[in-house]
Symmetry: C2
């Protein structure tokens, strides 16, 4: 019996009898009872009334496979879900499983990362319960040149997910940080294994500061969480489901239908555009106005002499963001 | 004592006494003797004359670490050399060792591959003693977009190595097969692990048909070996050393000095240019004349209506090559 099948059956407005559960799931009533007891231990509130049966009253904020699957409306993303209490890093776990053949659309989630990584080898702090730390494993039948789009899509999916679910004014700092106001709420680390002509896999690691109650003083000017913005904790599982759905729709439009329509929407929510930015280019610091993002994912910067340069990677400081 | 230090000392025109060897290497005379006996078992011809000492007369065609290192004049390539009798695939071995931290410039050679791979998952037949099957591990401090150049550089290095050493009229079939006449003598499979902005490593797998005595009938129109072209077997180690040296020079010019000067030389030896080619483009078969190779590694094809398209990956059939 799958725990998530039971949860699905219990998630109705009316009570369901033990006999009906036992029949629907094809297991004994004592097996049903054991799983209900286990779910209660995990924090699920399951009401039981003699002669009427069981009803799910509330679920805890756990990122279990069953919780994630319940109500997940994606077609392919999440066909395999690996949910752990603790891993070194969900990207590392995804890469290990990819080497063993994990399929396209596999999701790796952890309540806590002990070695969470940001871009360029930086540390990403990932305490238990505070964030949504997960990796989406993708196997597009495509050349590595298309991988840059993935990272833009991922940022856009998180931005839209947060906007839809909580109404926060989330925006994207190019290429794929998600910010609320001037503070970072999500970082993304995309890694790939490829031949020159063919991607073996892409691991999109996403870290969302969901319920972080507070940040160290030195980070307060540049980091926030959704809970801090809203003034109350959120249910992580629902946001994860929303982000996966948004991502799948954007991905299918780009990789399956070959419609790069996302770029206009991306630019619409991109906080970098129109601002003064500075970066290192060809070995020296330059600054100018960010005026466009190309389909290849490059940022176009107009310098004071009206010439433009395109930046395809690296650090870009945006005036007014992260305390700059 | 390192075996290659001893081989180095023995590789002179005159005899070297056992006492001198023992002193230079800082080991006992019986230790020297043991290594000399072992080398003779491996096929080295070492002359010994009473009261004069030892002299290396000839080396077997083995791809041992000592043989490769002796006379290798690269600066960084080969700082770590792993030479095996048999591996599944030198690219797989390189990737495993890369994950454990193998440094930039490491070389992985095998006398035989049991699971040799070509591009796009194809099988690469790699019998013992017949070829030079090796992988160069690189860690350029660069974005994945530069990886395409690597694969052109590798093809050019092999082409030049064969030309320099044997005078064969080796050429390059875009992007990086090496051909003699209309037949393939070398294939290259480049794989990488990367973030969007940073290459973690590149594994350049190179398979050269060096001493293959004959090919199955169905392959004879499209495959050759250097031994078949010359009419006698070659010493694999010397060609490997030459290719490594060529590659290092090209690599340093491109990645260190940022001089993309190689592209003119590449085009000079590219057999594809000026020929009729056909390929699949945007879902349909097209054919035209190959007229250029760009710095990004793309092939420019002019169609019959004078328009041009650029091809950045996939199969390109070249009239007159591989029996087409």
């Amino acid at each position: 019996m799958k725990t998530d099948d039971l949860l699905q059956l219990l998630s109705t407005d009316s009570f369901v009898s033990g006999e009906e559960l036992s029949r629907s799931l094809g297991v004994s009533r004592s097996a049903v009872w054991k799983v209900i007891r286990q779910l209660r231990e995990e924090g699920y509130k399951i009401e039981s009334v003699t002669n009427r049966g069981y009803k799910l009253v509330s679920s805890p904020d756990v990122l279990s496979e069953a919780e994630i699957r319940k109500g997940l409306s994606t077609k392919v993303l999440g066909s395999m879900i690996s949910a752990s209490q603790t891993v070194d890093s969900t990207n590392e776990e995804a890469k290990r499983q990819a080497a063993l053949g994990a399929p396209h659309g596999s999701i790796f989630v952890a309540d806590q990362q002990t070695g969470g990584k940001g871009r360029l080898g930086r540390v990403w702090v990932s305490p238990p319960g505070e964030g949504i730390w997960f990796t989406i494993l993708l196997r597009p039948n495509d050349a590595p040149v298309h991988a840059a789009a993935i990272t833009l899509l991922a940022g856009l999916a998180v931005c839209k997910g947060i906007r839809n679910q909580f109404g926060c004014d989330a925006k994207i700092k190019w290429p794929n940080d998600v910010v609320i106001g001037s503070r970072k709420v999500c970082g993304i680390l995309t890694e790939m294994a490829a031949e020159m002509e063919r991607i073996h896999y892409i691991a999109v690691g996403i870290g969302i500061n969901a319920n972080t109650p507070s940040f160290p003083e030195e980070l307060q000017v540049r980091a926030t969480s959704i809970a801090l913005e809203l003034g109350h904790p959120i249910r992580r599982c629902e946001l994860l489901q929303e982000v996966l759905l948004e991502f799948e729709q954007l991905y299918d439009a780009y990789f399956v239908q070959r419609l790069p329509g996302f770029i206009e929407e991306y630019k619409n929510w991109c906080v970098t555009l129109g601002r003064t930015v500075s970066t290192f280019h060809a070995g020296k610091e330059i600054s100018g106005t960010a005026i466009d993002v190309t389909l290849e994912g490059d940022l176009v910067v107009q310098l004071s002499d009206e010439t433009t340069i395109t930046v395809n990677s690296g650090e870009v400081t945006v005036q007014g963001i992260y305390g700059q």
